[in-house]
């Protein structure tokens, strides 16, 4: 399972192969790309089933304050799309990596306009999927074509406001998994779970696509409850980014922060698995 560097990247769906997937998010380049590489390895060691890497964009409209600040740190550290992809290329983890970014940096990449050059480079660097929160299905044909051409998954977000026909269309389009937005609003760790989460999950019951819930998940018990509620995976972002921020604040060694990240992921993963166990007897009991 090591020596992955020259092998083709794993598919995103692999993350959901053995039970519930724990998908951590970190902003790449926060506080610098070297640290990010170290953190990513730690996330993998902690049991992450896939990893989302935020490629920083100056106008992060879908993010709450925690990730906004991480993005500004990453930009200050000189994190460009080229350097980001270089760093991804250096990584040798064996779980699928997804890039989460906004449409403009994808569109601008390379010498010609349009998403194709970026997707090609992303595939070369070993990325398995792309998530673009400001790109709704309606505007996504060019990116989707490029992803298909280069074998990447394009993951769409399903919002609490996504219903009816829209939902059908989105679920038909998303590949890898459906990113289920736990609540309205922006990213950011919350201490409670919203009712909307479970409503969204149940709305998605009939579709044959893995469902990973994100936006606000921060605690082991959240992960458990979400998986128990029917999710196939859990995305955890701000809670982990917050740990990085604390490390930056305290001027800690990246290795120290990496250890904490690893432990946190392990804990969340354990939560997800608990949720799965809780769900199974019940569903068997039905």
């Amino acid at each position: 399972m090591t020596e992955a560097s020259a092998e083709p990247a794993p598919r995103v769906a692999d993350a959901f192969a053995d039970g519930p997937a724990l998908i951590p998010y970190l902003t790449a380049g926060d506080p610098d790309l070297e640290a990010t590489e170290e953190f990513v390895r730690a996330l993998a060691r902690g049991g992450a089933d896939a990893i989302e890497l935020g490629m920083p964009f100056s106008e992060p409209i879908a993010e709450g304050p925690t990730i906004q600040n991480a993005i500004f740190r990453a930009l200050d550290a000189g994190t460009t799309p080229e350097r980001f992809l270089d760093a991804v290329g250096d990584l040798d983890v064996d779980v699928p990596l997804l890039v989460m970014t906004y449409y403009n940096p994808i569109y601008q990449y390379g010498s010609e306009d349009g998403p194709e050059p970026y997707v090609e480079a992303a595939a070369e660097a070993g990325l398995s999927g792309v998530i673009v929160p400001d790109l709704p299905a309606e505007e996504s044909d060019p990116l989707q074509d490029a992803c298909e051409a280069h074998g990447l998954d394009l993951v769409f977000v399903v919002a609490p406001t996504t219903t009816g026909d829209r939902l059908d269309r989105l679920m038909a389009r998303t590949s890898g998994f459906a990113y289920v937005q736990a609540r309205l609003g922006t990213t950011g760790a919350r201490t409670d779970l919203s009712e909307a989460t479970f409503e969204s999950l149940s709305r998605l019951d009939g579709y044959d696509v893995p469902r990973a819930v994100g936006f606000g998940v921060s605690e082991r018990e959240h992960a458990a409850a979400i998986v128990e509620g029917g999710a196939d995976g859990v995305v955890v972002g701000s809670a982990l980014v917050e740990m990085v921020a604390e490390g930056v604040e305290a001027d800690e060694n990246p290795a120290t922060v990496a250890e904490r990240l690893q432990a946190a992921v392990a804990d969340l993963k354990a939560g997800a698995e608990e949720g799965a166990t809780r769900a199974t007897p019940e569903s068997q009991g039905n």
Binding site: S58, E59, T80, P81, P105, F156, A159, T163, L184
Partner: protein, 418 residues
């Protein structure tokens, strides 16, 4: 009776390569709902929306605004100069036309709350006024830097009962305020309407804001025919996001002999400093390149990685890195000619118009007059310039900026020195 130039934009809100709906999925149902409401109320006048809108424009907003022959400017430039006086709209700028339209639409849609971004505070005050008038709770997002340097407008919003939420991230200016308003909208989309301040953002905003502002050219076109029995050779208007230009141009777009000039802020120079993430101007039409920002594909000031640059202009209302997609397309197609006027020229024009005509223009507006000074009779025999707003809001800025320069047209300000 022509002049109703362009057809209704395509349903997908595309203007050539520009436009679209680049928003988070959570907002898509809202923009769809809004597109539907735009069609029904604005385009089809369902429930008499347009009638009620026009009545509010008239009795609350003070429309129609005059088209005034500028006698001394006409003499100076040896051409007939007419001023379309949007500075006389309630609140002091064309911004109210749009704010009234959108707040009223929010009511028709059954929304319970409106939010808006503001930079210099002009759109924020216009929205706050419209919201007070129509009894709609209102919150305004404004960068912390702008809050601190635009005290009077902050106070006006508070007086009109709006909440003002300072935005502490980034440079604390317009771009951050828009981002934060989008976040609020994504959180409260079910009961909230986002009153966007210009012809920017995802469809249907660019079309809808243009339609609300098109009253400018609708009036101007028939007023100029009444006053001069002909159409103008040129229409000149300043462009930030582009609502003033689109409003001033719309009903002339079909008149092929009428030249249309969109004057952008040239700031202190047209270069870019990618390393610092800064462009010392706001000339996205003239110097920007295609990209996606705040919901639409348009022309932008960005670095080669697609990061948005901090723009600059002495006039806060033009200080924006993007521009409306329809305007980008009209420039692309050659129908609209872009031009830039720098900080110095705009300040000279501010002083010149005040002195010549007894009209103190907004600094935004002054850019259009800087262009008139440069081109003069080259523009033709009859020129309409839109006075998009009054300059009362800019007095402190002008005093400061004038002191730092040696301007020909500025009065001696020594009376202040005791």
């Amino acid at each position: 009776m022509s002049g109703d130039a362009r057809e209704t934009p395509a349903d997908d809100g595309k203007f050539g390569r520009f436009g679209g709906q680049y928003v988070p999925e959570a907002l898509m149902p809202a923009v769809e709902e809004l597109t539907d409401a735009y069609q029904r109320y604005v385009l089809d006048n369902e429930d008499g929306f347009i009638d009620e809108f026009r009545e509010h424009l008239r009795t609350f907003g003070g429309r129609p605004t005059p088209l005034q022959r500028a006698d001394r400017s006409s003499e100076r430039y040896d051409t007939e100069v007419y001023l379309k006086r949007e500075d006389s709209v309630h609140g002091g700028a064309h911004k109210l036309n749009n704010a009234l339209g959108q707040v009223l639409l929010a009511k028709y849609m059954g929304k319970e709350r409106v939010i808006a971004e503001t930079g210099a505070g002009q759109h924020g005050t216009a929205t706050a006024m419209a919201a007070a008038h129509l009894d709609m709770p209102c919150e305004i997002y404004m960068g912390r830097t702008d809050v601190n340097r635009q005290r009077p407008n902050v106070f006006r919003m508070r007086l009109d009962g709006a909440e003002v939420n300072p935005v502490d991230v980034g440079s604390g200016t317009l771009k951050e305020a828009i981002n934060e308003t989008l976040r609020d909208w994504a959180t409260n989309v079910e009961d909230t309407h986002y009153v966007i301040g210009s012809v920017v953002g995802p469809h249907p905003f660019p079309s809808m804001v243009r339609d609300f502002q098109a009253v400018i050219s609708e009036e101007a076109r028939s007023q100029v025919q009444e006053a001069a029995d002909r159409l103008p050779d040129a229409v000149v208007a300043c462009a930030g996001g582009g609502s003033n230009t689109m409003g001033s141009f719309h009903h002339f777009v079909g008149d092929e002999d009428v030249d249309l000039y969109a004057v952008e802020a040239g700031g202190s120079g047209l270069e870019r400093h990618e390393d610092e993430g800064v462009a010392p101007h706001s000339a996205s039409l003239s110097t920007g390149d295609e990209g996606v920002l705040h919901g639409a594909r348009t022309k932008l000031l960005q670095d080669r990685h697609g990061q948005i640059l901090e723009s600059h202009s002495v006039s806060a209302g033009l200080d924006y890195a993007g521009v409306g997609p329809e305007l980008a397309d009209l420039v692309e197609s050659g129908r609209v000619t872009p031009a830039t006027v720098g900080d110095d020229e705009a300040l000279e024009a501010f002083h010149r118009l005040s002195r010549l005509e007894g009209i103190i223009p907004a600094l935004e507006t002054s850019h259009a007059f800087g262009f008139l000074e440069r081109e003069g009779a080259e523009l033709g025999d009859l020129v309409v310039v839109t006075v998009s707003g009054r300059g009362d809001k800019d007095l402190e800025t002008v005093i400061e900026e004038t002191e730092q320069r040696d301007l020909d047209a500025a009065p001696d300000l020594e009376v202040f020195e005791r």
